[in-house]
Symmetry: C2
Subunit: 183 residues, 2 copies
Amino acid sequence: MSKQELLPELLELFRQQGYDGVSIAHISKATGLGKSSLYHHFPEGKEQMARELLEYIHGAVKQHFVAPLKTDKEPRKKLTDMAQVVESFYDGGRKWCLIDGMTLGEANSLFQAQISRSVEAWIQAMADVAIECGLSKKMARERAENALIAIEGGLIVSRATGNYQIFKRVVRSLPSIVLDGHE
Amino acid sequence: MSKQELLPELLELFRQQGYDGVSIAHISKATGLGKSSLYHHFPEGKEQMARELLEYIHGAVKQHFVAPLKTDKEPRKKLTDMAQVVESFYDGGRKWCLIDGMTLGEANSLFQAQISRSVEAWIQAMADVAIECGLSKKMARERAENALIAIEGGLIVSRATGNYQIFKRVVRSLPSIVLDGHE
DNA sequence: GTCTATACTAGGATAGAC
DNA sequence: GTCTATCCTAGTATAGAC
């Protein structure tokens, strides 16, 4: 089994259980690989798995979230395209965001740098779309931050209330959060 | 040592480390009590600690977040009062929200009901202020949800980027999120 | 590259003395 | 109500065979 098959499994485990909640035994069961096989792929254990997962996710962010924002389509169309990917990646709010479980306790200091790199890339790409529509650099940045805040907050509030309509509504409002009044 | 002294310690541990990340040994060290003393207070162990903590937090939510919204002050004033409490409770974004660490993995099913009760109480209180300003029930609810989404998302994005100005900005915008255009 | 077996540590929980 | 001592399980990690 190759890492490209392992990493999607790791994503599902870490995003649902959080860094502390995932054990090698869980991973072994989920992947069907024995513990020793896992240590063959990741000699430094769970910490290395998380690091490589975050690298993998960084690529996925660029490919799935950022790329639709860098096409030559209409600004609002770019954002609705992104929003659709977001809705499906988080399965309508039923799947957690990796950030939550990777920024608790000691994991926070271990992975904060990697996480912020992905988050910054995404925010910047959304801000660029806002700038394209004539917003100032400062306002574009704020609106892009607000879009990410809405996504992350929407996930938390949806799962806290058990009402996933909230996430759906939030995702649909993303283009407006970034662009309203500037098209 | 009484539970009223223990619970604030538990809050700090669980909000920072998450349910899975907290061990009895951590709690023992943080409180200065031996393991057996902790089991004397909480015979069912960590799960009971979390349950009682969430009860305690439910009271704190009503007292600190909801109560300022039920005074006879001006609507916007109620929300700025609440926002100030929020900023200090989360230490300007540097302290996590309990929800994050209590809704990962198995903890989610254990505590979701208790969490949603507190969250609903808070949302409803914010919605009532919006209704007081003439918003429809449906719009008031949406705006109250958006306020909580902003708080929770602001915490996540602040810690993911390491930039706590974001949380500060979000907290200051709370009254506008709930009331703008209806005063 | 994967397995079985094993070592060791940390975490959860209890018994019984004071 | 708190302590020391202990038990058991789960978790991390490694050795060595195939």
